[in-house]
C-alpha cells in the first residue's frame, strides 16, 4: 500500500486523455483489439458513458477500475453488446473490433459474442452437468461429433485449470461445485468456443480469497492466448494482474496508462485520490 499512496511528482497534470492514449498507442508495438472512438451511451436520459476513447491491446490484461456507477461495467458490456439487453439504450461513436465497427447493426451480434467471451460477476453455470455446460457453446455453433466435443471439454477444463478437480464427475450438476469452481467452469465454458477476447465483470467479487487467488493465477495463464479485460472493485487485484489500467469516473475516462504508472505515478489527482482510498 505504501507504494500506492506515494505522492506523485509529475508536473504536467494537465495532459488530456486523448494525448495520453495516443502516447501509449505510439509506444506499444502490440496490436489493438478494441478501439473505442468518442463512445457515448445513454440509458434513457442518463448519460452513462461520455466520450470514451480507449484502446485495448492484444494479449494483455486491461483492468478497468472506478467507483460504483462510474460506467465501467457498462463499458465492458458494450464491447460484446450485452448492454443492448437493457431497454432504452442508445449509443453514439464507434467501437472498432479488429478494424470492424461492431456497433453497426449490420454486425451480427452472435458473431461478435462468439469472438468475445464473457465471465460474469456471479458464477452462472447452466443447471446442467459439468460436461453439458462446457459443450453448450460448441453445440449451438454446430459441433455434434461426440469425440470432438469430448476433446473440447477436456481442453477447456484444463485451460481453466479445473480439469483435475472435476474429471471424475463430468456428469454431475455444475451447481454441486463450490463458487470458485463454478466460476472456473464459467471460464472454461467461455474458452470452449475459442474466443479472442475475454471480458470479466468483477469475476472474483463473489468468491473467497483462496478462490480469488486461483482465478488471478488463471488470468495470468490465459493472458498468453487471450486478450482480457477485467472490471474490478479491488485495486490490489488490478495492480497485481493487469498490464494496463483505465480509471473511470462518472462515465468518463480520467486516466488510462500502464498499470505501474497508474499506481505509482498517476497523472490526475482524482486517480491518485481513488487508488489511495480517499473516495469510492
Amino acid at each position: 500500500m505504501a507504494t500506492l499512496t506515494k505522492p506523485k511528482v509529475t508536473t504536467n497534470a494537465q495532459v488530456t486523455i486523448t494525448e495520453t492514449a495516443a502516447t501509449i498507442k505510439a509506444k506499444s508495438d502490440k496490436r489493438i483489439v478494441f478501439d473505442s472512438k468518442d463512445l457515448n451511451l445513454w440509458y434513457g436520459d442518463t448519460h452513462a458513458l461520455k466520450d470514451i476513447n480507449l484502446s485495448i491491446y492484444e494479449k494483455e490484461v486491461t483492468a478497468i477500475i472506478g467507483p460504483s456507477g462510474c460506467g465501467k461495467s457498462t463499458y465492458l458490456k458494450t464491447l460484446n453488446r450485452m448492454v443492448e439487453l437493457v431497454p432504452g439504450v442508445k449509443t453514439t461513436g464507434e467501437i472498432m473490433y479488429n478494424d470492424k465497427s461492431i456497433l453497426d447493426k449490420s454486425f451480427k451480434v452472435e458473431d461478435l459474442r462468439t469472438r468475445v467471451g464473457m465471465v460474469f460477476q456471479k458464477p452462472n453455470p447452466f443447471p446442467k452437468s459439468i460436461y453439458e455446460n462446457i459443450a453448450y457453446g460448441p453445440k449451438i455453433h454446430g459441433i455434434r461429433n461426440k469425440k470432438i466435443l469430448d476433446e473440447i471439454v477436456e481442453k477447456s477444463l484444463r485451460g481453466a485449470s479445473i480439469w483435475d478437480e472435476v474429471k471424475d464427475r463430468l456428469k454431475e450438476n455444475a451447481y454441486g461445485l463450490s463458487g470458485g469452481q463454478q466460476q472456473r467452469i464459467c471460464i472454461a465454458r467461455c474458452l470452449a468456443i475459442e474466443p479472442d477476447v475475454i471480458l470479466m465483470d468483477e469475476p472474483t467479487s463473489a468468491l473467497d480469497p483462496k478462490s480469488t487467488l486461483r482465478i488471478e493465477e488463471l488470468i495470468q495463464e490465459l493472458k498468453k492466448d487471450y486478450s482480457i479485460i477485467i472490471v474490478t472493485h479491488n485495486m490490489q487485484q488490478a495492480a497485481r494482474i493487469s498490464d494496463r489500467t483505465a480509471f473511470f469516473l462518472n462515465g468518463e475516462i480520467i486516466e488510462f496508462d500502464k498499470t505501474d504508472t497508474i499506481f505509482t505515478n498517476p497523472a490526475d489527482s482524482r486517480t491518485e485520490d481513488y487508488i489511495s482510498g480517499r473516495f469510492g
Binding site: 452472435e110 459474442r113 452462472n124 447452466f126 443447471p127 453448450y136 468456443i193
Partner: protein, 318 residues
C-alpha cells in the same frame, strides 16, 4: 417479577424491563403458543381426513360391485349395457372415451399453451404481458357449462359445415373445446416456471453467441421443464376429470370405437348420466357408479405419481 421490574424502572422506559415483563407476563400468550400448532394441525387434517373418507366410501362400494360383476369382466369388457335385460358392465368404452377426449384436448392445449408461455415469458414486452395475462386468466374463469354449450351449439355445427358426416354429438368437438379451456392453465403455469429461470442463465448463453431462440429452447425450457411438465399433468388431470363439456356435447353412446366423429361417453359423463335418477340404491348399476369413480380416481392418482417421477427426473436445480 413483573411487578418488581415495573417498580425498578418507574422513572425511565427500560427496553430490557419491558422484554422481561412480556416474558413473565400473562400466561395467555404462552398458552397460545402451545395451542396454535395443535389447532393448525387439526385444520390441516381436515383435508386429509376427507380424502381418507372418500377413498373408504369408494372402496367399500366398489368391493360390493365386484362381488356382483367379476373384476376381470369389468376391466376387459368392451360392452357397456347397464340398463339392458342382461346388463353388461365393461368399462373399456368409458376409459376409451376419457382417453380420446383428453388426448384431443391436450393436442390443442399443449402446443398452444406452451407457445403462449414462450411468447409471454421471452418475447412479450412488459406492457403486452401485463395486458395479455389477465385476459388469458379470464378464459380460465368461464364456467365449464358455458364451454359445453359453446361446443354443442357452435363448434359442432361449424365442424359439420365442413365435414357433414360428423354426428351431432361427437367426441371431437368437446375435446377441442376442453383444450381451449385448458390453454390458460398450461400457459400461465409454464410462463411462471419460465420467468422464474434467472436472467443470469439467459445472459450466460447469450454471451456465448446463442440466438434468442437457442436460449429459449436450450436453456430456459430445460431449466423450467419440471414446472412445464407439472402444468401439462395438471392439464391432463383437468381433462380427465372434466364433466360438463363432454356430457353436453358428446352424448351418451357407450360404443367402443376409435372414430372421433362419433358420440362417446367418458367416465365422468357416465357418472352424471347414471346418477341422474335411473339407479335405485343397492342395484348393480348403482354400485357401478362407484367402480367407475374408483377407476377415475386411480387414473388421476397414477397421473400425479407419474408427474412427480418425471418432474423429479428432469429437474434442473439452479
Amino acid at each position: 417479577m413483573a411487578l418488581n421490574s415495573k417498580i425498578d424502572n418507574h422513572d425511565k422506559v427500560s427496553i430490557k424491563g419491558m422484554i422481561t415483563e412480556k416474558k413473565n407476563g400473562p400466561n395467555i400468550n404462552r398458552a397460545m403458543e402451545k395451542i396454535m400448532p395443535v389447532l393448525l394441525f387439526l385444520i390441516a387434517a381436515v383435508s386429509i381426513l376427507t380424502t381418507i373418507a372418500i377413498v373408504y366410501t369408494l372402496l367399500t362400494e366398489t368391493i360390493e360391485f365386484f362381488k356382483r360383476v367379476p373384476i376381470l369382466e369389468f376391466f376387459t369388457g368392451t360392452v357397456l349395457k347397464p340398463l339392458s335385460q342382461n346388463p353388461e358392465f365393461g368399462v373399456l368404452p368409458l376409459i376409451n372415451g376419457t382417453i380420446i377426449s383428453s388426448v384431443i384436448a391436450m393436442l390443442v392445449a399443449g402446443p398452444i399453451g406452451i407457445m403462449t408461455a414462450i411468447f409471454l415469458s421471452e418475447y412479450a414486452s412488459d406492457r403486452v404481458r401485463r395486458m395479455l395475462k389477465p385476459m388469458l386468466e379470464l378464459l380460465a374463469g368461464i364456467p365449464t357449462i358455458v364451454y359445453g354449450f359453446f361446443a354443442f351449439t357452435f363448434v359442432t355445427p361449424l365442424i359439420r359445415e365442413f365435414f357433414p358426416s360428423v354426428e351431432a354429438t361427437n367426441i371431437l368437438s368437446p375435446g377441442l373445446v376442453m383444450g381451449v379451456m385448458i390453454i390458460p392453465m398450461i400457459a400461465s403455469l409454464s410462463e411462471d416456471a419460465m420467468t422464474s429461470v434467472p436472467n443470469a442463465m439467459r445472459e450466460g448463453a447469450l454471451a456465448l453467441g446463442a440466438t434468442k431462440l437457442e436460449v429459449t429452447f436450450r436453456v430456459v425450457i430445460p431449466a423450467a421443464l419440471s414446472g412445464i411438465i407439472a402444468s401439462f399433468v395438471l392439464g391432463i388431470s383437468r381433462a380427465i376429470g372434466e364433466t360438463m363439456i363432454v356430457t353436453i356435447a358428446s352424448g351418451s353412446s357407450k360404443n367402443f370405437t376409435f372414430d372421433i366423429t362419433q358420440s362417446m361417453q367418458t367416465m365422468t359423463a357416465y357418472i352424471v348420466e347414471v346418477s341422474g335418477g335411473e339407479a335405485p340404491a343397492g342395484s348393480t348399476i348403482y354400485y357401478s357408479l362407484y367402480a367407475v369413480a374408483m377407476t377415475l380416481f386411480v387414473f388421476t392418482l397414477i397421473m400425479n405419481l407419474f408427474a412427480r417421477y418425471v418432474s423429479r427426473k428432469f429437474r434442473e436445480e439452479y
